[in-house]
Symmetry: D3
Subunit: 249 residues, 6 copies
C-alpha cells in the first residue's frame, strides 16, 4: 500500500518533491512471522521494522488495576546510517537520543489505545531502523500504529478481547524550514541543513499528541511555526489514509 508523490523535476527539493509532498510511503504488513504485528514502514529510503508483541502481564505499578500498558523500544542497526555507528548493545548503553525517541514513540501510541480496555496485557513495540534517511522517529510511530492494529486484531479474532481498545489512529511526520520555505517530511539531506525541525504527532481527528520543534540555527518565528503546523496537519491526514488502506489490503 503506497502513495504516489507527484514529481516536479524543477522543484527546489533534492529529490524533486514539491514542498508539501510526502516521500513514497509504504506499509508492508506481516513482514516477519513471529510478532503479533509486524510492519515494515518505508518513508522513501527510511525503512523501519515495527513489531508489536503482546505479553500477558503489566509492569509492577499497574498490577491488579485491570488495565494494560504499552511501551516502546527503538534501535538502529549499526550500518543503517551513512557511516557505521557503534552498536549500543556492545557499548553497554543506549544513547540519550535513543531513549528520547523510544519514550516519544511510547507516549504517541498510548494516545491511540484505551488501556483500560486492554486487560492486564502489555503491548511491546520495537522499532528497528534497517535503513536511515531522515525521519526515523516519525516513520516508527506511523508504522507502529499499524502493527498495534494488527496485534489488537489478533486479540479480538482469538476472543481474548471483545471490545476494540483502539480509540483513534495516530501518525507522525516531520516538517521543517529549508531556505526559508516550509517543507514536509524531510529526508536526511534536508534534515541536516534545515533551520528548524518540527516533529508532529496527531490523531486522525486532527488533535495534537506531541509537538517538538527545535531551532537548529536561528530561532524561528510564530509565523514559521504556524506554517509548519499547517503542513504537518495535511501530511498526517494522508498518512492516516495510508494506514487505513494498508489494514484493508
Amino acid at each position: 500500500m503506497s502513495n504516489t508523490p507527484s514529481q516536479t523535476p524543477n522543484a527546489a527539493r533534492p529529490d524533486g518533491r514539491t514542498p508539501q509532498n510526502l516521500r513514497t510511503i509504504s506499509l508492508e504488513r506481516n513482514y516477519t512471522k513471529h510478532a503479533e504485528g509486524s510492519v515494515m514502514v518505508r518513508f522513501g529510503d527510511t525503512h523501519v521494522l515495527c513489531t508489536c508483541s503482546v505479553e500477558d502481564k503489566v509492569p509492577g505499578f499497574l498490577r491488579g488495576q485491570n488495565q494494560g500498558w504499552l511501551t516502546a523500544e527503538y534501535g538502529m542497526l549499526p550500518r543503517s546510517t551513512h557511516s557505521r555507528m557503534d552498536r549500543e548493545a556492545a557499548r553497554g548503553k543506549q544513547s540519550g537520543r535513543t531513549q528520547e525517541i523510544q519514550r516519544l514513540i511510547g507516549r504517541a501510541l498510548r494516545a491511540a489505545v484505551d488501556l483500560t480496555k486492554l486487560g492486564e496485557r502489555t503491548l511491546k513495540i520495537d522499532c528497528d531502523v534497517i535503513q536511515a534517511d531522515g525521519g526515523t522517529r516519525t516513520a516508527s510511530i506511523t508504522g507502529a500504529m499499524v502493527a498495534v492494529a494488527d496485534a489488537v486484531g489478533k486479540l479480538i479474532a482469538s476472543g481474548a478481547l471483545v471490545e476494540n481498545p483502539i480509540k483513534q489512529f495516530v501518525a507522525a511526520v516531520s516538517v521543517g524550514v529549508v531556505n526559508g520555505q516550509v517543507v514536509l517530511d524531510l529526508n536526511y539531506d534536508e534534515d541536516s541543513t534545515c533551520e528548524t525541525d518540527l516533529n508532529v504527532v496527531m490523531t486522525e481527528k486532527g488533535g495534537f499528541v506531541e509537538v517538538q520543534g527545535t531551532a537548529e540555527g536561528d530561532a524561528f518565528s510564530r509565523e514559521e511555526l504556524n506554517g509548519m503546523l499547517d503542513s504537518a496537519a495535511q501530511g498526517i491526514t494522508e498518512l492516516v489514509r495510508l494506514q487505513k488502506a494498508a489494514l484493508q489490503a
Copy 2:
C-alpha cells in the same frame, strides 16, 4: 532579585495565582564559590543550583576548529522529590528522562552563545535540583542562562575573551491546560493533573528555540496550542527581565 506575583485569593489555582502569573522567581548569583558561574534559581518551591564551569578544551569532534562548545548535565538529589528516588549514580545509569532534559538544556543554551566567539573552550553547565515542585527543566534553563553570563563575564574581565559571545538571552517556561484553562508556570500539583503540558524556550527577541508539547490525556487543539504559546511568550518576557535585573544587582 525576584518578582512579586499578584495573589488573587479566590482564583482557581491551588496557590492563589492568576492563570497568567509566574510563581515567585529568584535568581541568587554566586551561590557557591568554586564555579565560574553559580546561580540558585527558584521558581516557587522548585530550587535548582545551576553552575557553569569553563574548561580550556573542546570535544574531539571540534578540536582545531577554533570554536567552543557548550554542554549540560542535569540531576535530582534523591530526596528533592516527594518520595525518595533512587540515586542515579548508585543505579549506575541516568534515566531516559534525565538524558532528555540535559540534552534540552544544552540545545537551549547553545542558542544563546555564538560558539565561534568562545575560543577552544567548553562551557559545562550542571543543573542540580535541590527541591522539586514542577518545572525543573524550565527553571534550569532560565537559571543556567545567568550562570553562563557570569562565567562569560569572568572570561571577559580576565582578558581571555575580548568580544562577548552571548548573542541573546534565552529563558524557558512551562504552560499547560488545566480544567480547560491555559495556565502559566505549572507547579507539581498542576503538572500532575493538567491535560496538556508545553515547555517553551524562547529568546529575548521573541523567537522560538524549543517547543515541546505533550497531550497527557486527550489530544489538544490548535486553539489550545495558540493560547499556550501566547501565555508562554508573555512569561518569558518577564523571565528575561528578571535575568537581566539579577545580573545588574
Copy 3:
C-alpha cells in the same frame, strides 16, 4: 539467487525435506544502500541482514604493521524469535551466546581474507537477525562472505586495492542427529529436539575452519561425527556454489 530443495512429502523432516536437503537459500545483495556490502541471507525462515563496512583504520595492536583486520558483531532483533527477547542494548550487555557467535563469525571470515593484502583497513561485519528459525550463525557466516566480497569489490573498483585479498570462500552449515538420523541444516524445531548439533565452517576447497559439536543429550559416537562431517561437506559445496552465483547475478 536461490536453490530449489526437492520436496519429499513423506520424509521424516517436519518441512518435508530429505535428510541431506538444505532449506531454500537466497542471498539478496545491496539490501540496504549505505553499507559497502549488504546481503539479506535467507536459510528458509531464518533471515539475517549481513553488512560489511570498510573503515580506514585498524585496532591499536595492528597499527603501523601495514595490514588489515576483520571483526564481526551479531545481534537479534527482540522479536525475531518466537517469544520476545530482551533487547541487549536496553539490558546493557551482550549475552554470552551473542559474544560466542560474533567471535565465531569473525574467526570464520578472517580465514577467507588475506589481511596482509587489505592495507590498514578494518572490515566490520554486522549480522543482525531479522527473523530466526534455527541456524542463525551459519546463515550469518554464509551471508557475510558475500557482503565481504561486495565490499572488497568496491575497494578494487575504486582503485583502493589492486590485488584481491580474498583467498578462498567460506560457508557454514549446521548438521545434527535427529531420531538417530543425520540431517543437514536444522530448522528451529529440529534444533530444539536433536541429540547432537554440529556447526561446521569450511572453505571452498574442503578445508575445515571451525568444527563445533555439542551433545545435547547423550554423547555422540565417532561414527555419528563422521556422518555429520560428510553431510556438512556436501552442504557447504552447495552453499559456496550459491554464493558465487549470487555474486555473478
Copy 4:
C-alpha cells in the same frame, strides 16, 4: 545555630584559627520541604545537605525480624570542588572514595540508633556536598545526626513510634598534623598539605565509633596519635553541643 570561633590573626592557620578551633559551624534544619529530616550543615566553606528519609520497609536480610535499618548514600555535585569532577551518574559508577565514605556514614549513624526500637523501617540518609572545602565526611555525619533526630521526631509526633530509638548522639571531626602541630577540623588547604589525617567519630559520652588515620607522608608516632585523639574529643564535645542547640532552636 552556630558557634563563634575565636580569630587569632597571628596564628599559623591559613584562616586565622587557633590549632584547637573548629571552623564556623551551622546546622540549618528544614532546608528542603519533602524529607522527614533535612539539614544543611556548614563547616566553614564546606556545605553538605543531609536528608533523612523514612521508608516503611527493610532490606531482605532483615525482613520479619521486627527491627529497622539505617543506610547512607553520599555524593558531590560536580562543581562543588575547585575543578569540576565527572558526574558519577554519567560515568555509570560511584568511585571507591564515594563508597568508602557512604559506608562510613552508615556505620556511624547506626551507632546512634537502637534499630530494634525502629520497627520495620529504614532510615535512608543522603549526604550531598553542595560546596567542598575539606572535611565533607565529618560534616556529613554531624549534619546527618540532626536530620535523623528530626525524622525520628516526626515518627514520634505522629504516634508511629512511642519510644525514642536514638540512644546517643554521634558527631565527627577531622584532625591532623600540619607542620608538626596538631590542628582540628582541617580545611582543604590544610588537608592537602598535612602529614597525617585522622577522622574520628565519637558519641556524646566520649566513646569511639570510628577512628581512621592515614599517614600522608611519613608515618606518625603514638604521641602524635594521642595528641590528635585529645583534640578530636574536645571538638566533638563542642559539635554535640551545637547539634543539641540546633534541635532546640
Copy 5:
C-alpha cells in the same frame, strides 16, 4: 595423584614430551576448606583451582520441577599470565572468551550428571586459573569433574542423596597440529604457534560431549581432524584413569 610422562630429550616438543604425551597431571583434592568439592588441578604449569558449591535452590526456569542444575564460572587471576591482564571485576565485565569458556565448562559437566537425581539443588562450579600455560579450559573441566564427585559424595554421605547422580565421568584435553604433527595437550608455546587447535570433551565410555576445532592458520583436513580425534581419545582415557585414582587416594 599424578602420571609420569616419559621424557624423550631429543623429541621435537619444547618440553621434551613425545607427541602423544600428556604433561604431568595432578589433582589435589580438598585444596581449600569451605567448598563441598575443591580440587587444584595441574596440567604441567597450568594450575586451576576448581571448586564445586552446593546450593539448595535452582534457577527460576526449573523451580518446582524436582530436578537440579549445574552451572559454571571461570576466571583468571590478573597475573596468572605472562603479562598482567586487566581484572575483569574492575573492568566491569567478563570478556567474550571468559563467557565462552564458562559456558563450555557448564555444558561439559552437565553431561556427567543426571540432573533429575540431584533434587532441587544447584552445583556451582568455579574454575579460577592461578597460573596459565595453555589448556586452562581443558584442565578446568578435568578438575571440576573431581570437585563435582567430591561434592556429590558429601551429599550422599550426609544422606541428602540416596542415589548417585553421576552417570559418567568426563574429561577434556586439547590437541593440535604443530609443524604438521599431531600433538596432545599443548602448552602455551605450542598453543601460540600451532596451525590447528582442537578441544575435546569426552566421557569415560568414549562418547563425545564437545568437539571444538579452530584453524589458526590454514584450514585443516579431514585426515588431520581424524588424527587429532584419535590422539584426544587416548589422552582422555588416561585423564579419566587419573581422576578415578585421585578419588580413591
Copy 6:
C-alpha cells in the same frame, strides 16, 4: 618461613591461642612463575596470593615527572568464604568493601616505597584471597610487602634500578576486643563476635601508616584503644621479622 604460636589448650580463644598470639604465619615466595613477585601468605586458614607486577609506564597524572607509582587490586575467589559469594566480574562491579580494601592496600604499600627512586614504572599489586578466615586485608598487606621486595630485587638484579627504592618495611595486623579482652590477629569466628575491630598498618620502625577502628557494638574507650595499639605494635614487630626471614630464605 613460619612462626610457631604457643598453644595454650585451656585459653579462651577458639583455636587455643593466647590473646597476644599471632596465628601460624607463612610467606611462600615464587608461588607462581609469571609475576615479578609472587607470595602466598597464610595467616592460619586465611590464604592470599599476592603478586607484584612491574609495568614500564605510569598513570597519566604522573607522566613526565620521573617518578613511579604503586597501585593495588583485591579480590576474593567466590568460594574462598563459608558460603559462596557472587563473582564480582559476573555482577559487573566491585563491592564497596572490595574498593575500600584495595585502596587501603595501595596506600599502605606506597608508604614502603620511595616512588621517586622507582623511575617511570608502576608496581601493580594483586591480592587474591584463595581461602578466607578473617584478616584478609592485613594478610594481603603483609604478603604484598614481600612480593614488592621480590619485584624490586629483580629490577635491581637486572640493572634497571641502581638504588633500592624500599625505604622501610610495612606490615599489618588486626586486633580486637572479644569478651572484654584485647586479642591479636582475629580469625573469622572472633571477627564476627568481637565488640571492636582495629586494623593497624605500621612500619618496621614503629610508625603508624594506617589505623582503622570500628565499634561493632558499643563504642570503645580510650583505654581499649590503647590496649589494642600496644598489642598491634607487638604483632607487627613479629610480622616484619617473618617478612625479612622469608626474604633471606
